[in-house]
């Protein structure tokens, strides 16, 4: 109880500018990462589901390589490796690139499962209506498979958000890094981590609740 008595809200208020900047950075990186992961997952998931030769295998290599290795190692490879190849990258670029590549791999599997779960007779109906394979995909498989994949995709996007905290390792000032640096100088551990806990949990819980809502409402009529 001594701990709670010493908790100072004013301290959080004093540092609100830096914390707010950190929060904005977290959101920026997450937004780009999620958008990129969505596109990658959609495209490569379709490639994998339709077993397009060569690209399907390449996508498989990408997915397995990313999913079976730690994201922190991937971050280091981007951060220290890209400059060696001649690309001048700052922390922000490495941050969204790393989470996008990571999220894209998981999302590929989400969408692949979603597309493959579209009942076969839907696609056959599309062909019967004279749609080409591409049109069938765009008008039938994608909308339905996308809906099936939505819950697991959102889970991946939540993980993308949480993984932005790892940018502490490259010194990019997102929320966790900023809070940690403030804590290192001022030793206000409780206050800083209270901020982090509240921010992350509120966002994560809201998105999780969204998933549960969507799962109920987006279920295919037949499975309801």
């Amino acid at each position: 109880m001594k701990i709670l008595a010493a908790f100072e809200w004013s301290f959080i208020w004093d540092n609100r500018v830096e914390l707010w900047e950190g929060f904005k950075n977290t959101m920026k990186v997450s937004a780009i990462g999620v958008a990129g992961a969505f596109v990658i997952g959609l495209v490569l998931g379709a490639v994998r589901a339709h077993r397009i030769p060569v690209f399907s295998q390449l996508a498989w290599v990408y997915v397995e390589a990313i999913r079976n290795t730690p994201i922190l190692v991937q971050i280091f490879l981007f951060y220290y490796g890209l400059p060696q190849l001649g690309y001048q990258v700052e922390g922000f670029t490495v941050a969204w690139l790393a989470v996008m590549v990571w999220g894209g791999a998981f999302n590929t599997e989400n969408f692949r499962a979603g597309f493959e779960a579209v009942p076969k007779h839907f696609r056959e109906a599309g062909y019967a209506l004279g749609f080409s394979p591409l049109k069938t995909f765009l008008n039938v498989t994608l909308p339905i498979g996308g809906r099936i994949a939505l819950p697991s995709s959102i889970n991946t996007y939540i993980s993308v958000l949480k993984n932005t905290s790892l940018m502490l390792a490259i010194g990019y000032p997102e929320l966790t890094t900023v809070a940690f640096n403030i804590q290192a100088i001022t030793f206000r551990t409780f206050e800083m981590f209270a901020v982090l806990a509240v921010v992350y949990l509120v966002i994560v819980w809201t998105l999780s609740a969204l998933i549960r809502l969507l799962e109920a409402r987006l279920a295919l009529p037949e499975t309801r």
Binding site: Y80, P83, Q88, E90, A169, I170, G171, P173, N181, A184, I185, F187
Partner: protein
């Protein structure tokens, strides 16, 4: 013949008296001591009971900053700071292996000390008045100066005219961090997660210069044909061993040990082991020696002392 015998006897007597005097002198601590007459180990105050019963030191050192604190491929801690720590262990417990090293970074070292995880930190800790409000410093054990690392083609004139608009890297919470933010408000300060990350930032062109301690940068510039040091020298403030304010016993012990090492000129051989031979003249005045005294600039705020 008789005269020869007498002279020989007289000489022998004189020699015996001189020998007796030189043997008798070191057992007391009275009067000024010369290096040749010091006992190998100074008289040291008692360590706190907790450390004595543990039988070893817990010391925080850098593991990413050669030549002061780093780890080689056999996993051993090495460097100037590490060797100083080992000397402490030899004098406290009889063996240099009676230490558990904890790796710290510039950002984490004070927190690691104040949270009680280590007995002391010997981790390139420059003295500042601000830090002394939170922790205690021992006597100085190394006289560092800051230098600027740039790419070969970069010409830097006076700092005041070159710095505005430039991107400068250093580690978070370092004295350079403060100095740049205080004195060069028109420069952008970029945090490097480690000194070597700062080196890479310079090489890749992400920053214009890295500001860090002389011995580290000297080694980098010597090993990298693309980088060089400018002639500027700044923030000449010594380092101390960091000790909790609640541990005056530890401070007393460390101060006595440093005094003992200084009087026996033990810092200079350690420094010579850690830097290449050709740099010896450059660093002659960096280690405390019988004739080289280091002092903390108490009463001034070095990180606010801006060049005119």
């Amino acid at each position: 013949m008789k005269r020869l015998t007498a002279i020989t006897g007289l000489l022998a007597l004189v020699a015996a008296i001189v020998a007796a005097l030189s043997v008798a002198a070191p057992t007391g601590k009275t009067g000024p001591e010369t290096e040749a007459t010091l006992p190998p180990k100074p008289r040291l105050p008692a360590l706190p009971a907790e450390i004595r019963s543990r039988g070893k030191f817990l010391i925080g050192v850098k593991c990413d900053t050669p030549p002061f604190g780093w780890q080689d491929t056999s996993g051993r801690n090495r460097g100037y700071d590490v060797d100083v720590a080992k000397q402490f262990a030899r004098w406290a417990f009889g063996s240099a292996s009676k230490i558990d090293f904890t790796c710290v970074t510039t950002a984490s070292r004070i927190g690691t000390l104040t949270s009680g995880r280590v007995d002391m930190i010997i981790s390139t800790l420059t003295w500042t008045a601000e830090r002394e409000r939170t922790i205690d410093y021992s006597l100085p054990y190394y006289g560092a100066a800051g230098k600027l690392l740039v790419k070969n083609a970069v010409i830097v004139g006076r700092l005041n005219s070159w710095m505005p608009g430039k991107k400068i890297a250093s580690t978070s919470g370092s004295i350079y961090d403060r100095w740049v933010k205080n004195c060069f408000t028109q420069s952008t300060f970029q945090v490097s997660s480690s000194p070597s990350a700062g080196v890479l930032a310079v090489k890749n062109g992400q920053v214009d210069a890295l500001m860090y301690d002389d011995a580290f940068l000297v080694g980098v510039a010597a090993n990298d044909p693309e980088l060089r040091l400018t002639n500027h020298v700044f923030l000449k403030v010594p380092w101390g061993v960091g000790i909790r304010k609640t541990d005056p016993q530890i401070k007393a012990w460390v101060d006595a040990a440093i005094r003992g090492m200084k009087a026996r000129d033990m810092f200079w051989p350690i420094l010579k082991r850690t830097i290449p031979r050709r740099f010896y003249p450059l660093f002659r005045l960096n280690a405390p020696r019988p004739k080289v005294n280091l002092k903390f600039p108490r009463g001034t705020v070095p990180e606010a002392a801006c060049p005119r």
